[in-house]
Symmetry: C2
Subunit: 520 residues, 2 copies
């Protein structure tokens, strides 16, 4: 049986990619710094082996046989879907030289340590040579992949198949058109108090609470674990072992709580993939050579942003969970009520740090990154000119001066991880979260549950319409099946207008619904 044998080979690819993820998790949580160089080589070797397994002559023969075997099944069958994904990955990787794959894995590991040191010292020149190499690698990769439009499209396609600069820019324009008027209106209002978020909150108690919240929203700690790292992340080694990390700032309470909710959202997705898909291409990103069950990175972000923001910063959520928070921090929150807490964690304040941005300005951070990355890749900006370009973009878009590189272009781990092309997925994820939530709310049981922050009905809906499918459907097909249409910014802009209208008592037209129609 060609198909069965193909599945077994893809199972081995999945095993190797999961092993690679374990090594990467270990490198970020447990490994002594001295181990970085050897670990980089180990990751490089595993990446190359996964690619070699995929591209082996034997695999190609199995694929040919499997395609012939399943040719008479319906196009929407699992078997046809598996073969199509393997074929697409096969064609993709045939174009990319092995040395680029190995070097990417090595750089992504070495980069972590270099970036951490450079960021701690706010020293961009210390990071620049690595970034030069990553940009050069990605330009070579983009050229190898080839595409009709901008070379950045080829890089984005690794994270968000089908997404292009040409499709992102109108989306960005639509969001800007909705966000900027709200932002102007908010700026004219008095800011709610948020002083109490910056009181002293011991880290251990924060982490205990973060763990508890993650579990309450549905993260199964029996199939995972929560650790602390500089840059929080989620990673899965099959649905039975899905790990998250967070960090606690002792004088900034929101970081640990919303960080844990964000990563829990990612983890719940991975834990919910159909067990029948374990080790199959429906739980393996064969193009990105990354073991995960999520349909795309934006789809993944839709689940993390759902829990971090759409639900985690909603009034009902804190009506339900604020008592536990106050029980953990009775002194710090003695003069705070639910309403004040909810307003504080939604306070709009344009800032320098993406991961700490409020929902309203968050996408502005993304837009400037996407444009700078695209410019790096097409050569219209060079790495030495990047600090100036970054600072100018932050000034133009957020009105802020960047005091140093640590709060500027060194703040994100993505470049150090060789993930140029990723950022757009965050904003697409925000849009998807609102769109999915709007569709789910059509069920009265879900809508009335959410009004009391009873999220089990919503989780069941997400499990049914999103999680269980793993990578079986492409993002836009998943969206169409779940919501009846392709990516549509209107639920998101309507959500922002309604939310900030209420928070800041704005008299604004609900512009969101008049924006350009959905892509389909």
């Amino acid at each position: 049986m060609g198909y069965t044998a193909l599945l077994e080979t893809m199972g081995r690819v999945n095993d190797v990619l999961n092993a690679k993820s374990v090594l990467a998790w270990d490198a970020r949580t447990m490994m002594p710094a001295a181990g970085a160089a050897a670990r980089a080589r180990q990751l490089g070797t595993l990446a190359a082996l996964a690619r070699d397994l995929l591209l082996a002559d034997g695999t190609r023969r199995l694929l040919d046989r499997a395609e012939a075997e399943v040719a008479r099944l319906p196009p929407e069958s699992v078997e046809r879907g598996v073969c199509a994904q393997v074929r697409a990955a096969f064609d993709h990787h045939l174009r990319i030289p092995a040395r680029l794959v190995t070097r990417r894995a090595e750089l992504a590991t070495l980069g972590q340590a270099v970036w951490e040191t450079a960021r701690a010292a706010a020293d961009f020149p210390a990071f620049a040579p690595l970034l030069e190499e990553i940009v050069a690698l990605d330009r070579a990769t983009a050229e190898a992949i080839g595409c009709a439009g901008h070379p950045y499209d080829a890089l984005m396609a690794r994270f968000e198949p089908g997404e292009t600069l040409a499709s992102l820019r109108p989306l960005f324009a639509a969001l800007r058109a909705a966000i900027l008027p709200i932002l102007d209106a908010v700026a004219a209002r008095a800011a709610p108090r948020a002083d109490f978020l910056a009181r002293r909150y011991p880290a251990a108690a924060q982490l205990a609470l973060a763990r508890q919240l993650a579990a309450r929203v549905g993260y199964d700690l029996g199939r995972g674990r929560l650790d602390t790292t500089v840059h929080p992340f989620e990673v899965s080694f099959t649905r039975e072992d899905v790990r998250i990390t967070t960090r606690a700032d002792e004088i900034w309470l929101p970081m640990s709580l919303f960080g844990a909710l964000h990563e829990a959202g990612h983890a719940i997705y991975e834990q919910g993939v159909d067990p029948a898909y374990t080790r199959t291409p429906f739980a393996t990103d064969l193009v990105g050579l990354y073991a995960m069950g999520g349909a795309s990175f934006a789809t993944h972000e839709s689940q993390s942003r759902l829990w971090e923001n759409h639900l985690g910063r909603s009034r009902p959520f804190w009506q339900r969970h604020f008592p536990a928070l106050r029980a953990a921090f009775p002194d710090q929150l003695a003069d705070v009520d639910i309403e004040a807490f909810w307003r504080a964690v939604n306070r709009v304040a344009p800032g320098l740090i993406r991961t700490e941005a409020d929902e309203l300005t968050y996408d502005l951070h993304i837009m400037l990154r996407v444009e700078l990355e695209a410019a790096l890749i097409d050569g219209s900006i060079r790495v030495p000119d990047l600090p100036e370009a970054w600072n100018a973009a932050v000034k133009a878009s957020l009105g802020l001066d960047v005091p140093d590189a640590a709060r500027g272009l060194l703040q994100d781990v993505h470049w150090a991880s060789a993930q140029i092309g990723y950022f757009g997925s965050y904003t697409v994820g925000n849009v998807m979260a609102a769109q999915l939530l709007e569709a789910a709310r059509r069920d009265p049981a879900i809508a009335s549950g959410l009004a009391r922050a009873e999220t089990a009905p919503l989780q069941a809906w997400m499990a049914e319409h999103v999680h269980r499918h793993g990578r079986r459907y492409r993002r836009d097909e998943l969206l169409r099946r779940a919501t009846g249409r392709g990516l549509d910014p209107r639920p998101y802009t309507a959500y922002l207008a309604a939310k900030y209208g209420e928070l800041y008592d704005l008299a604004m037209p609900a512009k969101g619904l008049e924006l350009p129609v959905a892509r389909d």
Copy 2:
């Protein structure tokens, strides 16, 4: 260059085996239990990939070319040594079907969870089916490898190349001839007090002290880490990342301290391998498909037992370190002095548990395991009859009744890890430790240093004569280079006679030196 390319391929094999070790470490320290089944498959896949890389047609061609290239170099050159080891491994693995390799890796991971559950419930029947499969697997493996003598020899050769039942049994006989008279004489004496070892010692303080001791004897925590596990172990992912674990029993102080010294001894060895050997066959067990720098498992045990016993239970060691111990536990040790502590941690008391055995009876535990394993492999004992055979052997050799399987044949992790053939290495390691120490002591600076527990000169000697060589020399050649002769039980038996003679005030002839001469 065939040789250079061969080295790079062996580097990839080393990378995969180190990745396998990371996954195994994670499985025993960090992984949620739910991840066990997927992890077993991942380990199986990595084991198979390492073997496939080694046995690939391309590797054989590289090996042929490399051998031709280096044929005119001296036989003792690095290049000839590398080629010889790759050739030996190649020939070895060609004989063993791939399915046995994959299944071994899977069983070793699955076995851990099954064993832990069975041991906790003292339920041998729950473990027996797995053991049946492991024994069958090892019988098939032994048959595939083939050897002139007992099939057990083929299994031992994976851990201790050159060791056979025919060579072990005379060694065992010599040790028994030395140990049993001492044991009889000790039994006639009053036991020293040891009540204070069983007072309540909080685990956190024990672990802090264990970490401190491990560091003081030379374990570089900057290239490693110390965690806690049910069954302590050491594992390396290159010399730059060598990890150990220990465990603390709150009412039995010696476990954490001597456990940490034991594993630190292993770790110091791995950390001391010549950096030039990283990723080469001199830091890879290509026969056992295990990434390690130690020359053999007995050589490894010689370093762990050196620190655990020969030095760690010596009077000078506690003259130096007891003050720190008492500072950590002032109440528990208020009525204890150095002399009493030293006598307590050397108290002879035949017991049921190998890992808690005193030095004098420890090897008796090993001997009974080796004989039972050999009988399982040659079929003279079957798994269902093993409990009765075990209990009879414990009665005959230690004079004890076994109350349950947890304190009987379920106590060790080795069978669950598919490591039949390993146990003999412990006793050979004890013998080697004494032999190496005797040779080192010929240097007056080392001997006088040890009298004050200043171990830096000894560590330098071990680094020079043992650690840095990695797997370059076989165990017996390493011994000859370091001590002038092959394995010789006389330093060990002399050490036991002198030590227990002093501890128990025995009037005994120093029989050790009249025992059969060294093998060479």
